[in-house]
Symmetry: C2
Subunit: 323 residues, 2 copies
């Protein structure tokens, strides 16, 4: 298995990416890593990975056109060489917009797929159990038919990566009943029902999305993004209020000592760094977007996800299911 890795554009710089690659390779002797970035920053990888000097950094706010013009960028080179050399996947923690658009333009959509979808795993109330939600922001707007395809792709992803035979699939909605939801959500509901989509369970309200009942939740990219970010924002505010509570006085600081393992466990559940970032489904290849703030552990989980996606053959399964 050959994975192209963009080592630039992350908040913490390439050193953490190098560490992640080293740790990942120590556990997988069936993978070859091709690392794109500033050659001098990748010296530690010599002998264990292929190094490609592509020193330009794509800025965080770069759009599709901008990145396609940056011929020396680590990101564009990683994506292009993946396509040209037939590598099995590409992983980046750089600009989301630039990465998704350059990957979609270069690798192209799987024939029959209307839109690619960004999918991410979310923590749930049930320890260790993840729910995947798609699209969380590849599009601004989606039709019912696109959502129907998202359900198909989400199901195949969940089966492949989590090994669950019959994932429970829901539509994100503002009410449980069939008539509720966004216009595209209602359309998708009808299609999923009429086609007796396996494991389709109807609507789920945002407040129960993380209860652990659902395996796959489909939604349009705009609402999915609102969901992702409001969950993130609330978790952050809660954490900061929690810290304040413990800082109050010496007694509360001592109190912290007794609960810190529990609190740590709690914040880990809500730490998106442990989830391996987001995956672009619907394109011809494995595309994994690690968080911009990825540390070594986070980036290694992103590499793990690319590995698992390959092992389970999700991309080919999507191709077969659509055609």
């Amino acid at each position: 298995m050959k994975l192209a890795v963009d080592t630039l554009g992350g908040d913490l710089g390439s050193p953490v990416i190098v560490k992640a690659i080293k740790s990942f390779l120590s556990k997988h002797n069936d993978v070859e890593i091709i690392a794109f970035g500033k050659k001098e920053e990748l010296a530690e990888l010599e002998g264990i990975a292929t190094i490609v000097d592509a020193p330009e950094v794509v800025p965080m706010e770069a759009g599709a056109l901008e990145v396609l013009r940056m011929k020396n960028s680590s990101m564009l080179n990683a994506v292009k060489q993946m396509k040209e050399n037939g590598y099995d996947g590409v992983v980046s923690c750089g600009s989301t917009g630039a990465f998704l658009s350059s990957a979609t333009i270069t690798l192209k959509l799987i024939p029959g797929i209307k839109r690619a979808a960004l999918v991410a795993p979310f923590p749930t109330k049930i320890k260790g159990k993840k729910v995947i939600i798609l699209d969380i922001g590849a599009s601004n707007e989606n039709s019912g038919e696109e959502l129907y395809q998202f359900a198909k792709m989400g199901r195949l992803y969940y089966q492949g990566v989590y090994g669950v035979e019959e994932p429970k699939t829901y539509i994100l909605s503002n009410g449980l009943e069939e008539g509720k939801g966004s216009p595209s959500g209602k359309e998708a509901y009808k299609m999923l029902k009429e086609n007796s989509f396996p494991g389709f369970k109807g609507n789920v309200e945002a407040r129960y999305a993380l209860s652990g009942e659902a395996d796959v939740i489909v939604t349009d990219g705009y609402s999915g993004n609102v969901f992702l970010k409001s969950t993130e924002g609330t978790a952050k505010i809660f954490s900061s209020l929690l810290k304040d509570a413990f800082k109050k006085n010496l007694w509360s600081k001592l109190g912290y000592l007794h609960v810190r393992s529990g609190i740590k466990n709690m914040t880990e559940i809500f730490d998106y760094k442990n989830t391996g970032g987001a995956m672009l489904l619907g394109v011809n290849g494995v595309v994994v977007k690690a968080h911009g703030s990825s540390d070594e552990i986070a980036f290694e989980s992103a590499l793990d996800v690319a590995y698992k996606m390959n092992k389970s053959g999700v991309v080919n399964k999507i191709k077969e299911a659509i055609n």
Copy 2:
């Protein structure tokens, strides 16, 4: 000031509503309450409020047509008599769908208003500071023009109820830049910018919505509902994880004693019971929807909101601003 109160349909039954009314009236001698419900359950209000026997309870899942047929229901009578007798507001903790639709059909939209919007205050990172978000679920879909009107109504509401002269108004979006957002959000952005809408600050991402920077955030009803419920869901999961952390052993239980005031403060910030429910803006009258799970305190805050909305003349200000 005369307020119609629907005492049925809440999760905790009419006794908490009766207590809330009594407590509210003890603080406001300029208000007359007309209480609709089961006469025998309202005996305690005799002599201090007008009691109207309307014993039918509108079921939680009732739709518009259903409630309009329930001639003996406390909800429909409260709404109808408010209109017929010119009361100054109506408050209910019954079925949201039934209450909003019966109020909109009976009271009618303010001429010029395209759609009513449900608005609610949210807690922020800044203690005591609220941000209001609209629409959080009166519609499934909204046009840019409707969002523009929501900005106007939200501004007038924030000015009236919170006494802030120049509220900072944002559009909920998936990115800060002007080109980001849902189709209706982008349209509204253009209109707000072209009309130099006072206090308009551009887009805000869902993750920063509760940071305390924004006063008013406009969004379509579907996305607003997703925001509301994902915030609520995340806060609930966090609270339950927190409880588990403290239950671990005797030491963690002792630790809790030292931080409980801080934790209590934190959960209060996220307790929607303290915010007085949601208000329907754009109709001819003050319409306040208290939470279905309202306790005495929650319902009294809802009454307080109806009182403040009247005192500040928000409805008339919206009429003037639109025409």
